[in-house]
């Protein structure tokens, strides 16, 4: 997993609520046996017509928006547990997803892949959408060390939560399996004790 500390980039706004993982990556694209390449089909049916031409009105097809941060409406990532949704977003090039509310499994999946889910208040989320709408080149800064997200132009900022274990993993690029493997003796002792 790649290390994560601070990023400052423009952001892509997707102001839709309850986006489910079937929209993020439809089931018919889950047939791969590796983790790579899912970005091409990110939001496939919102992004492309059935003849594979881009849908001009979808935000990922709008050249004025770009950047490593995806800003989304509340309850993002509900539905299927497919980790492919996190892979697709990361593979497309996003490093951070910002929302006022994430579905549980999606949030875990994102964290396990170095994609940082940042939960902000509904008010701050509205400010983010407004700032990007006014100026698509507006820079957003996400500082994991200080757990802070800032709209650079206005200086408006908010703290976000992340548990310290996960933060350490992200900052150092560790994954959970390394940690669990180090507990092998304890796991065996647990098995014996039952």
């Amino acid at each position: 997993m790649e290390k994560f500390t601070t990023i400052q980039t423009t952001a892509v706004p997707l102001n839709i609520e309850d986006v489910d993982t079937d929209q993020i990556i439809p089931a018919r694209f889950l047939k791969a046996t590796t983790r790579e390449g899912f970005g091409d089909n990110l939001f496939r049916d919102w992004r492309y017509n059935s003849d594979n031409t881009p849908k001009q009105d979808f935000v990922l097809n709008n050249p004025i928006y770009s950047g490593d941060i995806l800003v989304v409406g509340k309850n993002f990532g509900c539905g299927s547990s497919r980790e492919h949704a996190a892979w697709a977003i990361y593979d497309y090039g996003f490093k951070v997803v910002v929302s006022s509310f994430f579905a549980d499994i999606f949030r875990n999946n994102a964290l396990n892949n170095g994609l940082l889910p940042v939960v902000v208040s509904p008010d701050f989320l509205s400010s983010l959408f407004a700032a990007i709408r006014e100026n698509p080149a507006a820079a957003i800064k996400v500082d994991l060390e200080n757990q802070e997200i800032t709209i650079v132009a206005t200086g408006q900022k908010e703290k976000f939560d992340i548990n310290s274990y996960k933060k350490t993993c992200l900052v150092n690029g560790y994954d959970d399996i390394d940690y669990l493997l180090s507990l092998k003796d304890q796991v065996e002792a647990f098995e014996q004790s039952r």
């Binding site: 309850d18 547990s81 980790e83 274990y165 959970d176 669990l180 796991v187």
Partner: protein, 457 residues
């Protein structure tokens, strides 16, 4: 301290608690299927390690499989490759695989309970959100992502933050034609697709207690559709009688039952959130929109609120605000999925269609949840009832629940479906899904339109 059923099972499986972090939870049973595992096995191979406890993992092929001519090679190349990859990974790591052609093959959440692998008090995970189904037995069961599948394969443990606790009580007696599917669609319509996020739900109350195991599985199955990690129901005599004599039930069954009887919420245990619903308020339900919370009782009208999400959903579905769903023609009827593909579902469906004819405008797919269900249905003559009604009993798999295998609903077509998700494109690009119970699906199969099943029984 007074504990909930969930606390009792969870706490008994904690290997370690990380300060201000997650807990290390031991997993008793791990179900796997072809779609969410190849990258996990590849991860193990890359680390040069083997599966830690291969006997505690059970595999099947379900998502990608055709539901006709299953013994022929899978036509679609990528699907075949995924299923073959699973076969190879299971062989490499010594994991039991109930693959195509095996008498135990079927949808992962149907076979676990049916074989008696799913038991009270266990922790169960699977790279699939509907793992919540197994909670009907008083097990702590939840869906996980592929990185977590890799954790469990490597260590039989998973890192998890303990969820909050919610109880949903359903009290009283269900009306005629109202089923477990209607209960859960009703609950989700009341508390929304995110109302359960962060929680593990216990279902309780007299209406829940009176349900069969298969009906309880339908309820727990859809816990994830309100955002909850999972749902549990305390085990009772119904649970024990269901498990007795099953393939993998404990050898010393009576001793196991004595232990299982301890698995209930203490009288003074406290939940973070609690809801109570009256069974009598629930009608046969149908969804009109593009998430499972967009459901109404069959005599109700589609809401007319000013809401961008509702408008987007109705535009996709081709419905208008304030419309009634009654009488809307459907093109497809799908009986199947881990929500409703067990024997009771097939029997209930057949009770309605018996001696009648399918409407000319509909295509009907009846897809059993497992090979064992298929065999039992044939033994009971359900295949004949279906054939006489102009319908067909197919072979087991996820089928039209998700647009991944050959069974897809064409763009723009309406499908009344007993599955669990009506998301845009879930059953195929552009497909329009209406979720309902098996008997509501049967009513639509006969009449060719959305109908109130209570008028047919």
């Amino acid at each position: 301290m007074a504990k909930t059923l969930f606390d009792k099972v969870w706490d008994a499986h904690v290997v370690q608690s990380i300060a201000d972090g997650p807990q290390v939870v031991y997993i008793d049973k791990h179900f796997i299927h072809e779609v969410t595992t190849p990258q996990a096995f590849a991860g193990l191979d890359k680390r040069g390690i083997k599966v830690f406890r291969p006997k505690q993992t059970i595999a099947t092929a379900d998502h990608n499989v055709p539901t006709k001519d299953q013994l022929q090679p899978i036509r679609e190349m990528l699907s075949r490759k995924q299923v073959d990859t699973l076969i190879q990974n299971c062989a490499n790591h010594g994991i039991e695989l109930y693959g195509l052609g095996h008498p135990f093959q079927g949808i992962v959440h149907v076979i676990g309970p049916q074989l008696g692998i799913t038991q009270p008090g266990l922790t169960i995970v699977c790279g699939d959100s509907h793992t919540s189904t197994h909670g009907a037995f008083g097990a702590i069961a939840f869906g996980i992502g592929t990185s977590e599948v890799e954790q469990v394969l490597a260590t039989q443990c998973i890192l998890q933050t303990k969820p909050k606790k919610m109880r949903i009580n359903v009290e009283g007696t269900l009306g005629k034609g109202v089923t477990a599917k209607d209960i859960i669609l009703y609950i989700i319509s009341k508390i929304s697709t995110s109302g359960g996020t962060g929680y593990f739900v216990e279902y309780a109350g007299s209406a829940i207690r009176s349900l069969s195991m298969e009906a309880r599985m339908t309820i727990c199955n859809m816990s994830i559709e309100m955002g909850a990690r999972g749902g549990v129901i305390a085990p009772d005599d119904t649970t024990f009688e269901y498990l007795r004599g099953r393939e993998f039930a404990p050898q010393d069954f009576d001793a196991a039952v004595e232990k299982w009887k301890q698995l209930c919420t203490d009288a003074d245990a406290v939940f973070d959130l609690e809801y109570t619903f009256a069974a009598a308020d629930i009608e046969p339900m149908v969804t009109y929109g593009t998430n499972p919370a967009m459901g109404i009782g069959i005599s109700e009208a589609i809401p007319s609120a000013n809401d961008a999400g509702l408008e987007k959903a109705l535009a996709y579905m081709g419905f208008e605000k304030g419309d009634s769903l009654l009488g809307k023609p459907v093109d497809y009827v799908f009986l199947g999925s881990c929500t409703n593909s067990r024997m009771e579902d097939l029997r209930a469906f057949c009770d309605i269609v018996k001696g009648k004819q399918k409407a000319d405008n509909v295509t009907v797919w009846v897809v059993p949840g497992s090979k064992q269900v298929e065999q039992q249905a044939k033994a009971e003559g359900l295949d004949k009832i279906l054939a006489e009604a102009g319908m067909e009993l197919r072979e087991p798999g996820c089928s039209a629940c998700l647009g991944m295998n050959e069974d897809k609903i064409p763009a723009g077509k309406y499908c009344i479906s007993t599955s669990n998700r009506n998301f845009e494109g879930r059953q195929g690009p552009g497909a329009r899904t209406l979720l309902a119970s098996p008997i509501m699906a049967a009513a639509a199969a006969i009449t060719g339109k959305i109908s109130d099943v209570r008028e047919l029984i």
